[in-house]
C-alpha cells in the first residue's frame, strides 16, 4: 500500500469552493493523459488510414484553396506572400485545423461523456482539455508533413527556404494558441451543457471565423474596415506568427502578438473561473 499515491481522491470538501483548481487538475493529470489517449484511440478505431487523417484534412483543404486561388480565380499575384501559395495555405491551415477541431471536441466534451460527468469525480476541466490534447497530437502529426512540403518547394521550385533562429519562438506561439483554445473551449463546453444550441451555432461560427482569419489569405494592409476587423480577431496574429517564425524567419510583430497573448490569457482566466464555479452543477444539469 505504501507505494500508492495517497493524495488521489483526497479532498476536504469543506472548503471546496475555495480549493485550488490548478492543483486539483495537476493531481488528476494521469486522468487527462488517459482520456486524451482514449479520445485518439476512439477517433481512429476501425479506420484504415488511422492517424493519417490528421494530415488529410489540412492537406486536402490546402489543395482546394490552392486550386481556387491559383487556377480558378488567380488572386495569388496580388497577395504578395513571397512563398508558394500552397505552403502559405498549409502553414495557416494546420494551426487552424488544430484550433477548430480542438474547440469542436471541447464543445461536445462534457455532453458526450455524460456517464463520466454524472458518475465519477475528477476535475471537469479534464474533459475539454483532453479534447484539445487529442487535437494537439493531430496537429503535431500534420505539422511534421510541413517539412516534406518545404523540401519539395525548396528543391523543385525557384523558391528557396532558409531556417532562422526565429523558429525557436514557435513553442511560445503554440502555447498562446493552446491558452486561447482552453479558455474558449471551457466556455463552449459549459455553454453547450446548459444549452445544446451552442453546438449548432458553433458549427456555423467556426466556418465564418476561419474566413475572418488570415488562414488562406494574407492580412491586407490597406486600412479598410474589413482588414481592421480581421486584425482585431485574436487568431490573426497567431496564424501570422506561425508564418513569421517558420517561413519568413522573423519574430512576429510585437504589438499584434502581445494583443493576442493578452486576449488569450484573459479568455483562459475568465473561461476557467466560470467553468470551475459552475462545475458543481454539471452533474445535475447535463
Amino acid at each position: 500500500m505504501s507505494d500508492l499515491p495517497h493524495s488521489i481522491g483526497t479532498c476536504d470538501r469543506r472548503n471546496s469552493a475555495q480549493s485550488d483548481p490548478v492543483a486539483e487538475l495537476f493531481r488528476y493529470r494521469h486522468v487527462l493523459y488517459s482520456l486524451t489517449v482514449r479520445e485518439l484511440r476512439i477517433r481512429y478505431k476501425q479506420s484504415w488510414l488511422g492517424i493519417g487523417w490528421a494530415v488529410c484534412v489540412p492537406l486536402s483543404m490546402m489543395l482546394v484553396f490552392t486550386f481556387v486561388f491559383t487556377q480558378a480565380v488567380q488572386l495569388v499575384d496580388g497577395m504578395n506572400i513571397n512563398m508558394p501559395y500552397a505552403l502559405f495555405a498549409y502553414v495557416g491551415l494546420v494551426p487552424w485545423t488544430f484550433f477548430a477541431s480542438g474547440l469542436n471536441g471541447s464543445v461536445n466534451s462534457l455532453v458526450s461523456n455524460r456517464n463520466l460527468v454524472t458518475r465519477v469525480y475528477f476535475p471537469r476541466e479534464v474533459l475539454p482539455l483532453s479534447a484539445i490534447g487529442a487535437a494537439f497530437v493531430d496537429f503535431c502529426v500534420a505539422g511534421s508533413v510541413l517539412a516534406g512540403l518545404v523540401a519539395y518547394f525548396h528543391y523543385l521550385t525557384p523558391w528557396s527556404f532558409e531556417l532562422h533562429a526565429a523558429v525557436l519562438f514557435l513553442p511560445i506561439v503554440v502555447v498562446v494558441q493552446v491558452v486561447m483554445m482552453t479558455g474558449i473551449g471551457m466556455l463552449l463546453a459549459m455553454a453547450n451543457l446548459f444549452y445544446r444550441d451552442v453546438r449548432q451555432v458553433f458549427g456555423v461560427a467556426i466556418q465564418l471565423w476561419m474566413f475572418g482569419t488570415n488562414v488562406v489569405y494574407p492580412l491586407a494592409s490597406d486600412g479598410s474596415w474589413a482588414a481592421r476587423c480581421v486584425a482585431l480577431n485574436p487568431m490573426t496574429p497567431i496564424i501570422g506568427a506561425y508564418r513569421d517564425c517558420l517561413i519568413y524567419g522573423r519574430l512576429p510583430q510585437a504589438g499584434p502578438f502581445a494583443y493576442a497573448t493578452i486576449v488569450s490569457v484573459l479568455l483562459l482566466a475568465f473561461g476557467w473561473s466560470c467553468f470551475h464555479r459552475a462545475g458543481y452543477q454539471f452533474a445535475e444539469r447535463i
Binding site: 481522491g9 483526497t10 469543506r14 471546496s16 482520456l35 476512439i42 452533474a283
Partner: protein
C-alpha cells in the same frame, strides 16, 4: 496504512423539478403570456414548488474497517448521498469530509467505450478510478484473471455481453485498493458466483481497514455483510444502527410511502387494512425473534357480513416456495364476522425461520362459497432475527447432548487385527 475517513454533517441537497432550463420555445411562449398579462409568478426558490430537498440535514460518520449499509425506498436520496460524497455534486448546505483514496462504484465500468478493447478499457477505467499506469501494469494480470474474460481481453467491449462488461468493470474497481469504497447497487448484475467473489473482495477490503458504504436492495446481502445500517426516507436519515432493526425501519418506511396497506382489488368485498406482528407483550415488532412467541395481527373491513369467514396466512422469501401456511379452514376454524371492521389474530409459539427478510400474504375467504374476498399478495414484509443460530432455511428449537462412548470389545480386537 493511513486510514480513510468519512464524515457527513448536516448535508442538504435541493433539486429542481422539470427540465431545469428554458428552451427558446419556452422563452417565446413565456413572452406571449407576459404580453397577455398572465406572466409566470416568480417565487422564492426556497419555497418554490419546482424544487424539493432530496436530502435534508443528513449527518453520519463512518470509521475505518466499518461496512455500513444505506437503504431506503426508491427516491429516498440514497444515490444523491453517494454522489455528494463522491464529489460529483455539491450540497446546498452542510459539509462532507473525506480522507484517503475514495472509489465510488456508482456505475460499473464508467467510461467504458465499446470501440476499445477490454485491455484498453481497463487502463482507461483504472486511471479514472485513481490508479497510476505503473500500478495498473502491475495489477493487470490480477484484474483480467478476476474478471474471467481473459479470452476476450483484446476484443472491443461492444462485442461483450453485459455480464462480461460488468465483470470486467467490477474487477478493475476491486483492485483499486481504496480507503473509502462507495458501492451503489451495482452487484445485482453478474451471476451468483461472481457476486460471491465481489462480496468476498469487499470483505477483504473492509478487513484491511477500508471503510465501505453500500447501497443495495438485496436485504439478505446487506444483513450478511453490514453490521451497521443507515435508513433514509424522504431525504432524511431516519435510522442509524444495527442492520436487523434498520431493515425493520426500512420496511416500515415502505409501508408509509406506498400506501402499503390497501389490499383491495375490484369485486372483492373485503379489505385488509392492517397487518402487524406483535411480540408476547403485545408490542408491535418489525423484527421478529425466531425463537419467541409471536402474534400475527390482521385487521380488515367487510362490506357485508360474512357468516363463515376463513383466514389464510402464507410466508415465503422474496421468491420461491411458501415456507409456512396457516389456514383457518384446515384448522376447522371459521369466524362469524359482521359488516364493518374486524380483527383476527394468529398466535404462534415461535417463528422458526432463519434470519432474513420474509414476505407475508393474507387471504380472506367466504367459507360458504369458497370465494376469495381479499388477497394482499406478498405485500407485507418482516425481518426475522435468529441470533445467528443457523445458516439453513429454518431455525427450530433444539438442544445438544454429548456422552462418551466406551469402545466395544469386538471393535478393539478388530483394530488390533488390522494393525
Amino acid at each position: 496504512m493511513k486510514a480513510g475517513m468519512l464524515k457527513v454533517e448536516q448535508v442538504s441537497k435541493r433539486f429542481e423539478r422539470g427540465a431545469g432550463h428554458d428552451t427558446l420555445a419556452d422563452l417565446i411562449a413565456d413572452g406571449f403570456r407576459r404580453l397577455l398579462g398572465r406572466g409566470r409568478k416568480q417565487s422564492n426558490p426556497d419555497a418554490s414548488p419546482d424544487s424539493f430537498w432530496a436530502l435534508d440535514g443528513v449527518s453520519f460518520e463512518v470509521h475505518p474497517g466499518e461496512a455500513v449499509g444505506l437503504i431506503g425506498p426508491n427516491g429516498a436520496g440514497k444515490s444523491t448521498a453517494l454522489k455528494l460524497i463522491a464529489g460529483i455534486m455539491r450540497p446546498e448546505k452542510g459539509w462532507i469530509e473525506t480522507r484517503g483514496r475514495l472509489t465510488a462504484l456508482i456505475e460499473i465500468g464508467a467510461g467504458f467505450h465499446g470501440d476499445l478493447t477490454g485491455r484498453e478499457n481497463v487502463y482507461m477505467n483504472a486511471s479514472i478510478l485513481g490508479m497510476r499506469k505503473a500500478e495498473i501494469d502491475r495489477k493487470l494480470d490480477a484484474i483480467i484473471d478476476f474478471s474471467g474474460v481473459e479470452a476476450f481481453i483484446d476484443t472491443p467491449v461492444k462485442r461483450y455481453s453485459s455480464g462480461m462488461q460488468t465483470r470486467l468493470g467490477f474487477s478493475v474497481a476491486a483492485h483499486v485498493q481504496p480507503d473509502i469504497l462507495i458501492v451503489d447497487e451495482v452487484l445485482s448484475v453478474g451471476d451468483v458466483m461472481f457476486r460471491q467473489r465481489c462480496i468476498q473482495r469487499m470483505r477483504e477490503l473492509v478487513d484491511g481497514g477500508a471503510l465501505l458504504l453500500f447501497v443495495t436492495h438485496h436485504l439478505e446481502q446487506m444483513q450478511a455483510f453490514c453490521s451497521r445500517c443507515l435508513v433514509v426516507d424522504g431525504g432524511r436519515l431516519i435510522f442509524d444502527g444495527g442492520t436487523a432493526q434498520a431493515v425493520g425501519r426500512y420496511i416500515d418506511a415502505l409501508k408509509h410511502q406506498q400506501g402499503y396497506l390497501t389490499g383491495c382489488t375490484e369485486k372483492q368485498i373485503a379489505r385488509v387494512t392492517e397487518f402487524c406482528l406483535r411480540d408476547e407483550h403485545g408490542k408491535e415488532v418489525l423484527v421478529a425473534d425466531a425463537v419467541r412467541p409471536l402474534d400475527v395481527d390482521v385487521a380488515f373491513e367487510l362490506d357485508r357480513s360474512v357468516a363463515n369467514l376463513a383466514v389464510e396466512v402464507d410466508v415465503r422469501q422474496e421468491v420461491g416456495t411458501v415456507l409456512l401456511n396457516f389456514a383457518s379452514v384446515r384448522d376447522e376454524t371459521a369466524f362469524d364476522a359482521p359488516a364493518g371492521k374486524g380483527r383476527v389474530t394468529l398466535s404462534l409459539p415461535s417463528l422458526p425461520l432463519a434470519g432474513g427478510q420474509y414476505f407475508w400474504r393474507v387471504l380472506l375467504r367466504d367459507g360458504d362459497s369458497g370465494d376469495v374476498i381479499a388477497d394482499t399478495d406478498y405485500r407485507y414484509s418482516s425481518v426475522v432475527e435468529d441470533g445467528g443460530r443457523t445458516t439453513g432455511v429454518l431455525c427450530l428449537p433444539h438442544t445438544w447432548t454429548h456422552a462418551e462412548e466406551v469402545p466395544h470389545e469386538s471393535n478393539v480386537k478388530l483394530l488390533r487385527a488390522t494393525a
